[in-house]
């Protein structure tokens, strides 16, 4: 069964919450706008702050099909939009030749009909579905090149695709479009202008703790407070790549696997690889810096409790 889209910012907030996604008010507002006015939502943010997760949760809570287009350099129409089934077309030509029953005009019409069309995510997203319009996730748009970005303009503003041999395909109901970018290059304004924009920041301590409770319920509350305190402190330091929420959750899982009940310097040193992904960063934090941060975090938590 399809679920209706939310009717207010509060409902949007609740919807995400039901899907175990702890959003802040600003994201809920942007998402609500995008849902109710049928415009794509363009989400930017550092790696691991839950951009892709947003689309997944949305598809799941609204009971919609999730169509995911992972972008990469050289992504072209054939793998993003549609492709003809050449083998079958060839066979069809040979068959009609053997039978000698068709003239050129009808053969051409036959060969380029929907029967031979292989639909890729963008075209699939425009198809009517009994579950309601699907969620289309265009992931890491910054990885592809400018020509593809330009191709998206028609789709995102009018929700239609032109196939030269068939004509224009347009969506009866526009899909829910989420576009993510890691900002490894600047996306052109023409595309952003067609979307609502949202920048997902690293969460503050309270929200990160909430996220951790939802995503890793098996972690004890003392441990998760320490984890969040430590990660928040790390984000204040001068690292090449700051840990995202995804890393926090990974780390929490890792610590549970190791039967760790509270953070201690040695465990941190051994598991730092779950949190930091650059050797320079690990070298900087490992050892004395880690234990210094840990002492501070513990002191702060104790002061908080008292």
């Amino acid at each position: 069964m399809t679920s209706p889209t939310p009717n207010s910012v509060d409902e949007t907030f609740e919807l995400l919450r039901n899907g175990n996604y702890v959003a802040d008010r600003s994201l809920a507002t942007a998402l609500y706008l995008s849902l109710s006015l049928s415009r794509p939502l363009f989400v930017e943010g550092e790696a691991g702050v839950g951009k892709t997760e947003l689309a997944k949760v949305l598809a799941q809570t609204l009971n919609r099909k999730l169509l995911r287009l992972q972008c990469y350099e050289g992504l072209d129409v054939a793998s993003a939009v549609y492709e003809w089934n050449y083998t079958r077309q060839m066979v069809e030509i040979r068959l009609s030749e053997a039978a000698g029953d068709r003239d050129r005009g009808t053969l051409e019409e036959d060969i380029f009909s929907e029967k031979f069309l292989i639909k890729r995510p963008l075209l699939q997203a425009l198809e009517p579905s009994h579950d309601g319009p699907p969620v289309l996730l265009i992931d890491e748009l910054d990885r592809t090149d400018e020509p593809f970005e330009a191709y998206l303009l028609e789709i995102l503003s009018d929700f239609q695709i032109t196939i030269p041999e068939v004509g224009t395909v347009s969506a009866t109901e526009p899909p829910i479009v989420i576009i993510t970018s890691n900002r490894t290059r600047e996306i052109h304004d023409a595309l952003k202008r067609r979307c609502y924009y949202h920048w997902i920041d690293y969460p503050d301590a309270a929200r990160e703790l909430e996220i951790l409770t939802v995503k890793a319920p098996e972690v004890s509350s003392t441990l998760s407070q320490q984890i969040v305190g430590f990660v928040q402190a790390l984000r204040e330091t001068d690292l090449f790549k700051l840990p995202g929420i995804a890393e926090t959750i990974d780390w929490a899982h890792a610590l549970v696997q190791l039967n760790c009940l509270a953070l201690d310097p040695e465990t941190i040193n051994n598991t730092l690889g779950a949190l930091l992904k650059y050797q320079d960063d690990i070298a900087k934090i490992q050892g004395s810096e880690a234990s210094r941060i840990l002492t501070e975090v513990k002191a702060e938590l104790a002061a908080h409790r008292a």
Partner: protein, 406 residues
Amino acid sequence: MQENASNGGLTVNIMYFVRTLRAAGLPIGPGRLLEALRAVATVGLASREDFYWALHAVLVNRHDQRELFDQAFHIFWRNPKFLERMMSLILPSFGADEPQENPEELSRRIAEAIAADELDESPNSREDKFEYDAAMTWGTNEVLQKKDFENMSADEVSAARAAIKRMRMPISTVPTRRYRPRDVGSQVDMRATLRAALRNGGDIIPLKCRVKDKRHPPIVVLCDISGSMDRYARMMLHFLHTMTNDRDRVHTFLFGTRLTNVTRYLRYKDIDVSLNKISDIVKDWSGGTRIGTCLHDFNRFWSRRVLGQGALVLLITDGLDRDSGEGLAKEMDRLHRSSRRLIWLNPLLRYDLFEPKSRGIKAMMPYVDEFKPIHNLESLIELAEIVGGNGLHSNSSMTNWRERAA
């Protein structure tokens, strides 16, 4: 229309707000204003926070515009008599130590945008702004000099321009993952083949081919503008301007004691406009150099954004570092590892007896792929060739340099 009539006041206010943002430099067209009205109508006015984020979703589309929007929003919507607040933003706050100068500068943009509407107050605020600039000058120990490009000698300018005009940059290319149709090639283009087959009735199937498309890689230029580099940096700017206007994906950064991204300013077709804008924005002309710090900033804040697609990096500096190479090797290593090719252009190579013995130079040498002079027009022309070539032939000279620096 009816809706507009019923909340006419709000519509007009949103319009003024959009105009304020536009004056502050956010690129917002009339279409976006209509979008903003629709968004506000959808979200409703029940909560100030929702109102904020609704406008934010429509009017902001780059991360760095957030600060500007935030300030404009709070000034504009909290207090319609925003003038007093504006004044407090313009006046320097004595005593309070504010380490970030960026938000301050941005506030000035907002303040100016708002002040532009208040004609009677504008001379006053302009004076204040002037004082503020002066305060910033004393605050730091770098030479915050405004560079006058008029001082370039006429000969120098004309010679440089003539040479740069004559330069045709051969565009080096690298294969991409995209294909283009070609009559002869290694891969069959099925789509074109089928189409061609049907054109002659399906009796003959002419093979159509495709080959990998080629494209030039992005170029990132890091140019030193400290005192010792002064003469060359000015000439380089002409060159960089030509290069920026000649092709896409050229990013330019200037550094002395701090790093400034000037890519946008070099995009003006008129070189004089570009140079004027740059001299306005760059505050550390002809000061000292802190290569390590600047490269650190570049690596941390820009490398992921501009080096993502296999960029060619031109590093233009004499390698004379005020911090005597401290932390430089590490940053060079990272820069080298995240770029396709790192080319160091050093004007000191004009001396025949140049030996790579200074600490900064020693720290940098192991990490560069090519080490070339950049001190006269001839070497500028040569640079065009380096950028154009594939760089595979010059490894022997590089080994030589590395040995001498070791």
